[in-house]
Subunit: 375 residues, 2 copies
Amino acid sequence: MALPFLAEAGSTPRIFNFASGPGVMPAAVLAQAQRELFDWNGSGLSMLELPFTGEDFKSVMWRAQDSLRALLAVPDNYRILFMHGGASAQFSLLPLNLLGGAERADYLETGYWSRRAVTEARRYCAVNIAASTGGTDFDRMPVQEELHLDPGAAYCHYTSNETANGVQFHRVPDSGAVPLVADMTSDFLSRPLDIARYGMIYASSQKNIGPAGFTVVIVREDLLGRAHPATPTLFDYRMQAEAGSLLNTPVTFAIYLAGLVFQWLAERGGVAAMECRSLARSAQLYRAIDASVGFYRCPVQPAHRSRMNVCFMLADSALTPLFLSGAARHGLVNLKGHSMLGGVRASLYNAMPDEGVSALTAFMRKFAEEHAHHV
Amino acid sequence: MALPFLAEAGSTPRIFNFASGPGVMPAAVLAQAQRELFDWNGSGLSMLELPFTGEDFKSVMWRAQDSLRALLAVPDNYRILFMHGGASAQFSLLPLNLLGGAERADYLETGYWSRRAVTEARRYCAVNIAASTGGTDFDRMPVQEELHLDPGAAYCHYTSNETANGVQFHRVPDSGAVPLVADMTSDFLSRPLDIARYGMIYASSQKNIGPAGFTVVIVREDLLGRAHPATPTLFDYRMQAEAGSLLNTPVTFAIYLAGLVFQWLAERGGVAAMECRSLARSAQLYRAIDASVGFYRCPVQPAHRSRMNVCFMLADSALTPLFLSGAARHGLVNLKGHSMLGGVRASLYNAMPDEGVSALTAFMRKFAEEHAHHV
């Protein structure tokens, strides 16, 4: 049983996984999953084999939902759903569920993922781009004064953290009386939230929640029951809310692991502690970039930089493959930027050990020293 | 590391899991998953943490799809998709993808699950019940002569094995020129298939494929590209076929385990060998029922009995809870019948060891002897 980044010096080398998702999981959670893989809780069965209608799995499911409600202080008038399909499914399911006869929705266009959400929403309604930062290559998030909101919109959608572009909202946009909807896939559980400001938030599981497998939807009760008639029953928020997300077999193992992650998070001070960590760690990395006198460059304006996905370029882009292969030899893996954007991306999800960030900044300094003549 | 049903006598008791799904998985697959949980293939990372866009996961994905194609001799003009959402999602996605402007579809109504498929299909089109065995409580499958097929139907849907009712087709219905579509969730990979007779088949993963997490769709290429405009892009068969089922993050760990199960199956003689085993094992169990002179009773006509889900009742239904708790004390668990139907259900998926079936029949005989005065 190898515990990569808990291993003693000289044994298994430390591997730090900077993937944008699926990404690093807490070693303690993996260790528990490994221990229990053949025999969950003395049942003699693997969690992978437990029927979802049995009391054993249901207790795991309810505990995971209760833990999440506690972690984020989700008010009683919000339902927590565990849905199939990933956040990309929500790009369609959101308009299908929330338009409710309205024909317009507001979208903030702030990078690769919000654009994907817009493309899909246009198949269902007229999209008002309430603001776009595309003119400056998504180097910042829009400020409140820039938003041109449509009071007749069914909802206003934004992406709290653009995983591919490395740009993040550090405040909540104000959409007035129009329900605010956020795709929080890549910064969910990285900081406290005032859920009451939202009509709905959603986040797929393969970043700070656990492995790939399901999507958390937190939706205000009064928004349920508006689904378009063509909405598959399984993807109707109201139907899933009434069935406790058990309309059909959920992705049981992913939910079990998420429950362990929620518990791990709670034991480490919850989302407030995660916010402190992500602030400190991302600041350490951005300092290393900014201190490189142009060797590394982060195109995102400082006030809008992501604390989860730190994206940067090498001034000499021809050095990028060398940087990535050298980093991998130092146990710093999956640092390649999004396929559409290139460069380097370091994802600093909750489960990334602080040592991983220190090791990366040390490697960056060393690499820059060795290759500085290229600038 | 406990290996329940490989354990030596006197150590961990043997547990046999008869759940209808998620259900028993091969012990060898669980053992490999446990070994590799912290370090997949020397990567230093868990399969749970691998990015889905990386070569490592992609090789796992393609190998799983290739293995499945080989196991079932899937012809080249069929695409294999790994979809999110379970078979219940396909109840909606099938009409959304295959109606293609037609307004009618044929459905064979043969039990609980085909009824669920019909209910959902009625939301999208006029359903012609080409045959129903509801008049005799689904005690058999319809014969070819009973089918009243609609030549204008977009497709003809049937459920090859009714998991809740314990009734199974042992031949393929003939739908003429109308594409035949089968929900094979609970008997997929339990016998060879002549794929060319089908327009499409689908099966969710939590029976003979692996854990809960995804749905296999095998669809003939000429049926792609007919999706209703309201179909979410992620659930459009053509889009997923073009993207190699990588339109968004798939449920990576479930696909990895499925690949291991496919390999395990191939090493044991493939689906032809599984058919022999399931014939022998189900016959053993039905013999025990029929030999009990009325103590146990299988309501399904012998020629239509399921080889995967053996459903039976106790003549004195008041004894059922005692039977179930006694069985559980003997390590025979999850034998409770479907919540709508009661009674007992023993699911004999490929991963059930033969010893489990022997242990169950032995317990049944013993229980009947002890309680025969109740009849």
